[in-house]
Amino acid sequence: MHLYLIRRLLAMLPVLWMISIFVFLFVHAIPGDPARMIAGEQATMADVEAVRRALKLDEPLLIQYFTFVKNTVTLDLGNSLRTGESVYDMLARAAGPTFLLAICALGWSVIFGLFVGVISAVHSGKAADHIGMIAAVSGISMPNFWLGLLLMQFFSLKLGWAGTSGFNSASDLILPSLTLGSGVAAVMARFTRSAVIEVVREDYIRTARAKGLVERIVIWKHALRNALIPVVTMIGLQFGFLIGGSIVVERVFRWPGLGSVLVEAIQFRDFAVIQAELMLFSLQFLLINLLVDILYGFINPAIRYK
């Protein structure tokens, strides 16, 4: 297991290096000049050039790439072109709220999705199934933006149960994570449903029933544990999706997270921040993949890693 982990982690290094090249090329290929954006709309060309020199954007690309790699490796990450603030500090400040939000959203949506999915699968073709799946389809098709404002309108303004936005206390997590998780819950429900329907047809479920087990145990223990195997892969994918989806939710709920930082960095072509954040997302994606694979091993004894 340790060996496996070490091998997997080592294998990430070349991948990250490739990603660094892509990220750098991508960031520099998109049209837009950070000096111009940072200098502002009313700046004269002289102002823009002053900014360019001050930010060392006049250096050759190769030097800029090496600076980027050096900064990434040393975790220094450089400074934001726009604010001059340490990128490390910016990301460190924003990562917490974003991951917390993503985990909360994932938490409820997975539990809820599994529950609805199993219920729908068990009552496949009946009313409970139809209700569950209609809810799921609405969940998938409802834009986060719209749902977020709707929840805010209802819970914050109509009922006054929660603050509209911002992150000052744990209860502030509720509305944004509800919003963010709705799509995932729907996907999980649909996916779990089909996984369970598939698994319930398996021979070992017949065996479980032939043992005389109560249906509750047959479904929630025997079927669900097996249905989880594909579902876990889905959870991994969805986590990446959540981080992406949080951009909208962060905007609506004034959430001080990575999404807002990235959007603003892109808007101002703040290369240092975009690059660092894209690397962070890539690393996170690789780690989640690894985590999913390890989880897989726990759920599916046929794939235990040595």
Partner: protein
């Protein structure tokens, strides 16, 4: 109460009266009024082919049929419980039915590979069954589970408790299933095709185990099977089912010696019997018997091809070796590899059938795949149709894949469900640019007619065909490129015996018509005996004995060949108690350390091509 008096009077354990079961809201009648009795300690075999309703009957007894979308429409299933009370299983409430399942009646299934939950430990799965029905602590239940595993003769049972199903072989899993079924000491064990998916040697072990356990516990067994060989081995009484109805019932000796119903007769005729070919040199088709009284027996004689052994072999291979590396560790270093095929020599003559028999994992399927380079393999020499093939460039590989075709065990998996079978048959011709689109379709129709189907089948999709028809389609597709050699990998193993006989007859007919050669790979000794001119017995990647069919089957010299033949069930209840040599234990593994290559066998020549590996 009348129920009680009836059961009591007859001293029966189970009495099924006019059971009717249907599916899809009554639109499909699966069981059309069955009467069936089982006495305590008795073994009753229910025989029939797929769709005959035998499994549905078994599932109805367990009240499991509802979970598959079926429903018991009418009839009674009277069962004597441990406390001697009689209940009607068909009328039990859901929870009472559940309490009965696994406790009074237990069941084992056809697929040991998939019948155990892959994510739970063996021990836990048995313990779960025990604590569900009996007031035992988990610790006590574990002790019982361990005892049950020992009872079914699982070696090192204590460590097996902590294993997961995928770590066990099929035979071991079926033993676990039996231990699971017996863990609550049921009065009736329903065994639904429990050995069909197993190798003959393992099958023999399992059948013997069930018999012994039955002797020890006095439980009754309802044995569901399509295999008359198995019936002859185990049953006291036989019930023959056909299209959801019971067509014959009787003591096992009577049914085998004097079958009454035409279907029973046909079934018995279609059973490949090992040794049925004794005294003959050539393969022979099954004689055809109609399955119903109205249907006339097919009379068309099938000529058996004669092989000219003076001619050049169509395929000649020397030193075929296929190994799979098993990388491990941080750097993926190879320390072990699977020696699937080792230094194998093969010759197949035109119009000849070479049978390869052996147990799972012996390398027989890999041999077939290696010939078409579907897996990476090594040859010392390969000649095909008079040409030496030493490098597999794209062109010669294309030619090889045109001239050699495959038929697999599962035709459904090898036909694209989204293409019409006509198109599936056309595909190889178009791929190899043998025909234009229009001509290809005409030829597809012609081929379908050759395999006993009709032109209008060409426009249908695979799901509209039965298993036998699909295998015919697969054969038609294999023929589409006019191949010289067809590799049939367990091509008839999944088919019902009567269908199996028809397909084998068809293959022989086509062999005669087109001058085909077959490499016939199978685990079924009797089938191989029927169809082969020559036979190779394979064990751990090497041939241990080869020769003409007659040499190998009538005069087996290698001990492995002998054990294999002894293990094959004999469809004759009179021979049941003959003490035969048993292969005990597991099939050995072809995985070896990298520095420990297998010993290459040397052969003793017994003359006329009969070679036996030195032991």
């Amino acid at each position: 109460m009348s129920n009680e008096s009836e059961l009591g009077a007859q001293d029966l354990l189970l009495n099924i009266k006019d059971l009717k079961v249907s599916f899809a809201n009554g639109t499909v009648q699966a069981v059309r009024g069955i009467d069936l009795n089982v006495a305590p300690g008795e073994t009753v075999a229910v025989v029939g082919e797929s769709g005959s309703g035998k499994s549905v009957t078994a599932l109805s007894l367990m009240r499991l049929v509802e979970f598959g979308g079926g429903s018991i429409d009418s009839g009674e299933i009277l069962f004597r419980q441990r406390n001697n009370e009689i209940c009607d299983i068909a009328a039990l409430g859901d929870s009472a039915a559940r309490e009965m399942r696994g406790n009074d009646i237990a069941m084992i299934f056809q697929e040991p590979m998939t019948s155990l939950n892959p994510v739970f430990r063996i021990g836990d799965q048995i313990v779960e069954a025990i604590v569900t029905h009996q007031k035992h602590s988990v610790a006590d239940a574990r002790a019982i589970a361990l005892e049950m595993l020992e009872t079914v003769r699982i070696p090192d049972a204590a460590s097996i408790m902590a294993r997961y199903p995928h770590q066990l072989s099929g035979g071991m899993r079926q033993r676990v299933m039996i231990a699971l079924a017996l863990s609550c000491r049921p009065q009736l064990l329903i065994a639904d095709e429990p050995t069909t998916a197993l190798d003959v040697t393992i099958q023999a072990q399992i059948l013997r185990l069930i018999r012994e356990l039955q002797d020890r516990t006095g439980m009754a067994v309802l044995f569901i099977t399509h295999d008359m060989g198995v019936v002859a081995e185990v049953a006291d009484r036989v019930v023959v089912m056909y299209h959801g109805e019971k067509v014959e019932e009787g003591a096992v000796e009577d049914v085998f010696s004097a079958p009454q119903h035409p279907y029973t007769k046909a079934l018995l005729t279609a059973v490949p019997r090992l040794g049925a070919m004794n005294g003959t040199d050539h393969p022979a088709p099954f004689s055809k018997v109609s399955t119903t009284e109205t249907e006339p027996a097919e009379s068309k004689a099938i000529a058996v091809p004669v092989v000219d052994y003076d001619a050049e072999p169509v395929l000649s291979v020397r030193g075929l070796t296929t190994r799979f590396d098993l990388p491990e560790g941080l750097l993926g270093r190879v320390r072990k590899r699977v020696h699937a095929v080792e230094k194998l020599d093969l010759d197949i003559w035109p119009s000849e059938t070479l049978g390869i028999v052996g147990e799972s994992g012996c390398g027989k399927s890999t041999t077939g795949r290696s010939l078409l380079r579907l897996v990476n393999s090594h040859f010392d020499e390969m000649r095909f149709d008079g040409q030496v093939i030493n490098d597999f460039d794209k062109e010669s590989l294309m030619r090889l894949r045109r001239e050699i075709q495959f038929i697999f065990q599962d035709p459904y998996a090898s036909l694209n469900p989204r293409l019409t079978v006509g198109f599936s048959i056309c595909e190889p011709m178009l791929l190899h640019k043998l025909e234009t689109r229009k001509n290809a379709f005409d030829r597809a129709v012609w081929l379908l007619e050759q395999v006993g189907l009709s032109a209008d089948h060409a426009r249908r999709y695979p799901h509209a065909f039965s298993g036998g028809q699909r295998q015919r389609v697969a054969i038609a597709r294999a023929l589409s490129t006019n191949p010289k050699l067809i590799i049939a990998d367990e091509a008839v193993s999944a088919l019902d015996v009567s269908i199996q006989a028809q397909v084998i007859n068809l293959m022989m007919e086509l062999q005669q018509k087109f001058g085909l050669s077959y490499l016939f790979i199978s685990h079924d000794m009797a089938v191989v005996e029927r169809i082969s001119h020559r036979v190779g017995v394979m064990f751990l990647g090497q041939i241990v004995e080869r020769g003409t069919r007659r040499q190998v089957f009538e005069n087996p010299k290698h001990s492995y060949t002998q054990r294999l033949m002894a293990a094959a069930p004999i469809p004759d209840p009179m021979q049941r108690n003959k003490d035969r040599a048993q292969i005990t234990g597991e099939i050995p593994s072809p995985i070896r350390g990298i520095n420990n290559p297998p010993h290459i066998l040397t052969y003793r020549d017994l003359g006329q091509g009969h070679q036996v590996a030195l032991e």
